[in-house]
């Protein structure tokens, strides 16, 4: 540190690159803007001015290539499950999934007799955060997003994992 001491004012921070990376990832969880059912309405509300998810860095993106987080907002039917899986595969790493609402977490009201509904989106893609509710309020979704941020912050992408 001797080299840098007193050369700059207080506007410089020294941090590990590893932590910096995970910090920057966690504060810009751009999410994929698509909805499968009524939960999408709450997702829109969460992104709109009143709740304004953009203030925590979550910006809706319309292409899977530009998105880091997929919010599965709503009922996933069997017909849609294949498409959801395909969209997830098109996203670039690192990628995260939030299952929003009862349907996406467990099948919700279609749990017992819905022959056409996927019983939870985690059957086809890995889920990081589950947000319960039918539909969850925007506050819940933001809470879920904050939980995801915490989770990303713990990651150390450059550190080699001990086998």
């Amino acid at each position: 540190m001797g080299l840098l001491t007193n050369r700059f004012q207080d506007n410089i921070i020294v941090e590990k690159l590893d932590k910096l990376l995970s910090w920057s990832r966690s504060t810009s969880p751009w999410f994929f803007q698509f909805g499968t059912a009524c939960c999408a309405i709450e997702m829109m509300a969460a992104a709109a001015s009143r709740h304004d998810m953009m203030r925590i860095g979550a910006i809706p993106r319309s292409s899977p290539r530009q998105a880091d987080v997929m919010i599965v907002a709503g009922t996933v039917t069997m017909k849609m499950a294949i498409r959801v899986k395909k969209l997830y595969e098109q996203m670039a790493d690192p990628k995260y999934v939030i299952a929003m609402g009862s349907c996406a977490t467990s099948g919700g009201p279609y749990w017992q007799h819905g022959y056409h509904v996927l019983k939870g989106v985690d059957i086809v893609i890995p889920v990081d955060v589950y947000v319960p509710g039918c539909p969850p309020r925007p506050e819940s979704l933001i809470e879920g997003m904050l939980k995801l941020q915490e989770q990303i912050l713990q990651e150390r992408p450059l550190t080699r994992k001990m086998a």
Binding site: M78, K79, I82, S106, W111, Q112, L118, K119, G120, I123
Partner: protein, 309 residues
């Protein structure tokens, strides 16, 4: 003194005061007769007040005449309005609501409010309606729509029977057809001058259990404003019905949905694919004997998670 005796006395007093002393004398109960006569004297002297005419007896005395049925259609609009206002003020709002003419109904309601406020006078009951019995006229008004519908059902049944003999299957109020000539019958129903069923409002499928599937068509004529329902039953082993998609274009998606859910094949449909489920889905979900498939593209279809309940 019992309640009924009191009522009887009140009635007799009123009749006597109105000059009908015969009614008083005809009373068989001596005590009642005497009391009534004494009261009439008192009222005439001014030492007692005239009792109000009891309500129930009022109606019964009128009811002795044979109840004349009033045809509401014969009333002029003003009379109809006065009649409805009177009915409404007497507490029978159902009669007002049952009126089919929207304008008259609205006017009657407005007038009732005004009379209650005191800004308008209660119109006299029109004569023809006055004679009517206490039998609810509203019921008659309501039932006309149903009657009309039965009529058109019978009429269409008869016409089809004449034009396409053997197509009508045994049934009481609905129009149950055999699928053979359905396309011809449908195009005839649409073009026949006295029917003009130009709108197919709904088409649906039903699994009646056993071995029967039914396809139902709700038809409406915009010109004559009448409705019929046509039912066509087929067996599950050979569910084939001629398509009417070329006659009513709306039937395109209706029939596709019925095909999707029940597997009824519409012969002659130009684009008969599943409309909701994926094309490679197996089975017909709304049939009663439907068993969902085990997997769909490697995804388990029935619930697989354990321990959630």
């Amino acid at each position: 003194m019992t309640d009924s005796q009191e009522k009887l006395i009140a009635e007799l007093v009123n009749k006597g005061l109105d000059g009908d002393m015969d009614a008083v004398n005809a009373c068989e109960d001596k005590m009642t007769r005497a009391k009534a006569k004494a009261m009439i004297v008192k009222v005439n002297k001014g030492t007692a007040e005239r009792p109000p005419m009891p309500k129930a007896t009022n109606a019964s005395s009128d009811g002795s005449a044979p109840p004349a049925v009033v045809n509401l259609d014969t009333l002029s609009k003003d009379d109809m309005l006065a009649y409805l206002v009177n009915k409404g003020l007497d507490g029978d709002m159902d009669a007002v609501n049952a009126c089919e003419d929207k304008m008259t109904r609205a006017k009657a309601k407005a007038m009732i409010v005004k009379v209650n406020k005191g800004t308008a006078e209660r119109p006299p009951m029109p004569k023809a309606a006055n004679a009517s019995s206490n039998v609810t006229d509203s019921a008659a008004v309501k039932s006309t729509a149903i009657e009309q519908n039965k009529d058109i059902n019978q009429k269409v049944r008869k016409m089809i029977e004449e034009k396409f003999p053997g197509s009508i299957l045994d049934s009481i109020d609905s129009i149950q057809l055999s699928p053979d000539k359905w396309f011809e019958i449908a195009s005839w129903l649409k073009s026949e001058e006295s029917l003009i069923f130009d709108s197919l409002q709904c088409q649906m499928g039903i699994d009646l259990g056993e071995d029967t599937l039914e396809s139902r068509y709700n038809l409406h004529s915009m010109k004559y404003d009448h409705y019929i329902e046509v039912r066509i039953a087929v067996s599950k082993s050979n569910p084939k019905i001629p398509s009417v998609e070329k006659i009513w274009r709306i039937a395109d998606w209706f029939e596709r949905e019925t095909y999707d859910m029940f597997g009824i094949e519409y012969i002659g449909h130009r684009d008969l694919r599943r409309i909701l489920l994926p094309d490679d889905w197996e089975g017909w979900p709304l049939r009663k004997d439907y068993q969902e498939q085990e997997t769909y593209h490697g995804i388990m279809v029935p619930k697989v998670k354990e321990g959630w309940e």
